[in-house]
């Protein structure tokens, strides 16, 4: 919401949520309309674009209905829980002639954009090995995350960020996926909280992706990336360059100007990654361009993550593509 309100050429008309009292709360806080039902929202001719931030298992239905009502859709990642759902969403967007973008916000984080820029400029040469690490406490605050059937677990929900990055910088899908996916610490839930994923790309480059929800509640959300190539290597760690940290009895919080929400008058220009993401989406809608993570592109990382889960349950590598 905060990011949407930074866009000068957009107006937030209203919102609908499954939890009515929460929806009313948020609507009141931002001074927008709260619709009685989703179909009321879709029936409002003032609404041109729908941003779907609901739990993953509801994405397909809500996105398809929105697109069938002629709305452009920005949907939270992961786009869906199966390829069949993803395909339905992609074809709905084609049929209706509307934009579908999946909010893979990592591509709008300044450090990952810089890494991609260095790779594109050839500073690293040909990529040989990618190591990516992403972890924090399990999102137990929202029960649906802890239900494999609703969130897809740590592989489909969290590792997908780095899988998407690996697919992006390697220029396409891996040919082989091998993974160990487990429930290490949350035995009372049907969930995966730990994933070790290895990918091999047609170029011969390999990638290791670890996603971890089996961390103590005090662990700050951390992401690290290393890319080793024929000419050099790059490395980033979102914790080490954090210019401002706040320690309290139960948590450590970090603040960076690059990831803080933009405050007019405080920062010279909007740099929040969520702002950049929706800015991109709106530009694509207005200029009829293809979003960087449209349905087809986002389907790739979903396919890889689903293959990783399958590799783990079958105990063997999974081969993709022809």
């Amino acid at each position: 919401m905060a990011a949407w309100r930074m866009l000068e050429d957009c107006r937030v008309v209203g919102l609908w949520g499954r939890d009515k009292s929460r929806a009313l709360d948020v609507a009141a806080r931002y001074g927008v309309k709260a619709y009685e039902s989703y179909s009321d929202l879709l029936g409002d001719r003032d609404v041109e674009v729908v941003d779907i931030c609901t739990p993953t298992y509801t994405h397909r239905k809500l996105a398809v209905e929105a697109m069938e009502a002629g709305k452009h859709v920005l949907v939270e990642k992961p786009m869906a829980l199966s390829l069949m759902e993803a395909d339905e969403m992609i074809s709905a967007s084609r049929r209706a002639g509307v934009k579908l973008m999946v909010a893979h916000v990592l591509r709008f984080f300044p450090e990952y954009m810089k890494a991609k820029d260095l790779l594109d400029r050839g500073e690293v040469g040909e990529i040989a090995v990618i190591r990516a690490w992403r972890g924090g406490p399990a999102p137990e605050w929202s029960p649906w995350f802890m239900d494999l059937g609703k969130s897809g677990g740590v592989t489909v929900d969290l590792a997908i960020h780095d899988v998407d990055f690996a697919v992006w910088v390697n220029g396409g899908m891996p040919s082989e996926v091998y993974a160990k996916v487990a429930n290490l610490k949350h035995r009372s839930h049907d969930i995966h909280d730990y994933a070790l994923i290895m990918l091999k790309f047609p170029t011969g480059s390999i990638a290791f992706i670890e996603a971890n929800w089996a961390l103590p509640n005090t662990y700050p959300f951390t992401m690290r990336l290393e890319v080793d190539g024929t000419k050099g290597m790059i490395h980033l760690d979102n914790q080490s360059p954090t210019p401002l940290k706040l320690w309290t009895g139960s948590s450590v919080e970090g603040f960076s100007p690059e990831t803080l929400p933009w405050k007019p008058g405080v920062h010279p220009f909007p740099i929040d990654p969520f702002y950049r993401e929706i800015r991109h989406f709106i530009e694509c809608v207005k200029e009829d361009r293809k979003p960087i993570t449209d349905g087809t592109e986002a389907r790739k990382s979903l396919e890889v993550c689903l293959a990783a889960v399958r590799s783990s349950s079958e105990g063997r590598p999974v081969h993709l593509g022809g």
Binding site: R131, A179, L184, L196, G204, N212, P216, K231
Partner: protein
Amino acid sequence: MAGSIKLGFLGVAHFHADSYVQAAKKLPNVEVAGVYERSHDLSSQFSGKFGVKQYVSPEALLRDVDAVVIASENVLHHEYVLQVAEAGKHILCEKPMAVSLEQADEIVRVVEKAGVKFQMCYVMRYHTVSVLVKELLKEGRIGRLLAMAGTNKLNRALPLLRAWFTDRRQSGGGAVMDHTVHLSDLMRWYSGAEVVEVYTMIGRNVNPGIDVEDNFLTTVRMGNDVLGSIDGSWTYAAGHYTWGDVTMELVGSDGVLYMDAFRQNVYYTGEDKLSWHYYGCDPDLLMVEDFIRCIRDDGKPRAGVYDGRQGVAVTLAGYESSRLGRPVKPG
């Protein structure tokens, strides 16, 4: 054992020999008797640099020593170990112990029969920080161990400094052969279980000019279902600020440990160069010291001949899994 222990060096082609000889010279009651190295140039260089006597044959060296450090090219370990064990001398052996499982099994048999001390250069079992990890695990500080993900990466410039590292006939292989064992051994040590499943992916080289693999990723499963991951790639860029690293993240039921064992460096920036100056513990010294203690007190090495054999088994399972495209149980 009264008096000094006479220590010989049999093969010094591995860089680590330089560090081991310096460690040995710091220890009381150890006398470095000399070196046999088949390369005449390397032998003279080593002898000159460290002031140790050169021998013309392994036999001549073995006559004068109580114990031997084997830091030759990997493929010679087997032959040298057998020769030393049969002469009844104690052995400190560079990793990997051997380049085939047949060799490794024969080493186990011969060493056990000879009744000599055999210690593997699994230096991470002696490094103060990785030992502390073992103790914290034992104290239950992270609860039950569930998963371990480690790196033992190397600056890509280093393997090029000695040609044999990248000559398969001398090394038995590249990064997989060189850098699987430190982490697979720590994983066995920490989890108290054997590796039962290995899957390795080898990527295209960062250095296309060498004919061994310079990178890999391995996933392992331990007998008690603890998961593990090993990245032992020789892919840190030549300009990286250190030689490489040994890191491990250990996830437990009640917490997480993160080890970065060689992080204790002061970084220097001058007019035209960057350099790093390590101020952490000297694990090579601790390891050689413990070897001498085992000989003197009839102790049991922390990393013995069977640990060496298991490292070879995991390494070879890595190669085999990569070749076959499916996970492999180490032999």
